[in-house]
Point group: C2
Chain length 345, copies 2
Amino acid sequence: MATIKDVAHTAGVSVASVSRVFSNHESVSPQMREKVLAAAEEHSFRPNAMGRALRRTGTRTIGLVVSDLLNPFFTQLARAVEDAAREAGYLMIVGNADEKPEQQDLYVQTLLERQVDGMIVVPTIETSELLREAAELNRHLVLLDRPANDVHAPLIASDTAPAITQLVDHLVATGRRDIGVIAGSRAAGTARERVDALRSALAVHGIELPPERIWAGTFRRESGLACMTRMLDERTTPEALLISNGEMALGALEALTTHAGGVPSVPNDIALACIDDLDMFAWLRPSVTAIAQPTRELGRHAFEALLDRINGHEVSATRIACTLHLRASTAPRVAHHASERHAHE
Amino acid sequence: MATIKDVAHTAGVSVASVSRVFSNHESVSPQMREKVLAAAEEHSFRPNAMGRALRRTGTRTIGLVVSDLLNPFFTQLARAVEDAAREAGYLMIVGNADEKPEQQDLYVQTLLERQVDGMIVVPTIETSELLREAAELNRHLVLLDRPANDVHAPLIASDTAPAITQLVDHLVATGRRDIGVIAGSRAAGTARERVDALRSALAVHGIELPPERIWAGTFRRESGLACMTRMLDERTTPEALLISNGEMALGALEALTTHAGGVPSVPNDIALACIDDLDMFAWLRPSVTAIAQPTRELGRHAFEALLDRINGHEVSATRIACTLHLRASTAPRVAHHASERHAHE
DNA sequence: CTGAAAGCGCTTACAG
DNA sequence: CTGAAAGCGCTTACAG
């Protein structure tokens, strides 16, 4: 690799001048610029970001640690953050915690060592000593999507509660009072929040959410499949079911389509709704009611909040509204013409 | 941020000793180790990777530039590379080119400046001057999934041709001779390869692939939707259709489900198959025939190839076999009981 | 406008 | 086993 020294040597100038040309310093004569660029070209010179970072303050790099990159919601979030970062001249490094706290810590640690200017984290778990410490040490930190206890950093997340309330109102208005939920992983704050929001929305109608109406999922597809399969096996399906994220909804739909033996029909026997609006929910038959999260806004806002922090401004926690899309899977019941066997007809 | 100097000062030792403790140098006395670690703890000291990288050779960082991170195939590929990298103690930086050559170059450039030890690239376009130059300059480079002209670097990709041949044999054996394809973006080598493989497989049966049987897609979902909608509008659907990737297949399925007016029935009027096997293809009705690519193996192999290159070994191009999953969407036709209106019944 | 020099945070022969 | 010193590739006041 050619260095600034090599370029200076062939151009017959000082390293300071080469540096000035490449940092777009104002006072550089046209002839100097030309000489330097020619020499640089000859060497295929590319400034070494490591050397530069050591002198300058800031690396123009941010870190993003997500809990599960294979989940399209987080892929889209990552994409939104990346777009905002690139536009602002920042490089984004993503780490995938894969819902494992140790792996999250590994990435947080690595990113800190690599001197990122700041980090956006979707915590896999509500308590992380390392995150708490990073925030304490005044490292710029923004939490995204999920809260974390005792971590002094602003949270940018969507506001699912009002949409859940709307959904419950609709379900109750269409005659469903036995309502259940497939919850997300216990460790994630969002899982808890969503169940709480459902419980509060039901309470308004004088309906309880008993423990046996809460199925414990993990936010992964397989857990949606497993929970729904269990319900079908035990014939304990509620009249309406909220599924806490899109991945688990796909698993539940798979169970409803492939389960051996009689299956309740959607929406007559069981109404379905989920949080996260996947493209296919609009064209699957029956189409699936979903609460759409403002993914792009969340990602963009998180980056902007981080940038504000980096620039020394105060940043406050922000909740962004969701949108409820009512579709066929929660339509009012119609008189049974026959016991249908498949949900997806 | 505390530096090695601060730690040395409070521990009352030299910076060299602190460095030795943190680099796990062999000759450090237990007392020294203890003193240093205590002081480091006190300062919440974390070695600065920038300073370290400047002296050591290698940053233990690799770059991955993918053409479209929102496409689950690439997300999974990225995940596989990341897993392999993490296990080997490397940090992976991903850049999403979003199918834009300039954006790809931006990331390649940035990664080179950041002194990555090597890069894995899924080229958005078959010719890239910057990639060619990077390979020339002896930067460690591995191509993944898609070929690139004149770039001196090994390609790790799946071998779709045999599976496409198998598929065509099955289609012809079940009486389909009018076979078409929704191709991927012209710029991508894989798009061309897949059409070529289809053409060769058809030729064996004395069947041609006329230009009007090739619909030009972009590998994006919307293009699958657009191509299929066009066919339906113009009533020019072939007897069997190969869709070049999973995203476009979802778009095509959407069109088949939502298109106003009569729609050909699957598989009777039109047989469908695609490259990429999405989870839901097994449970959608009808289930969708697909060629599964060995995503994890591809990603892992690409990382190992890169590591070999970094360690000075020669690496050769590798093709990994695909698996054809025949499902209902290409089942033999049965006598029409009536003209069905929807494909997804 | 340009150059000589100090220094960012680390590592690593070289002495002792 | 430990320390003093040079140096990795850059930037940036400071002179001129």
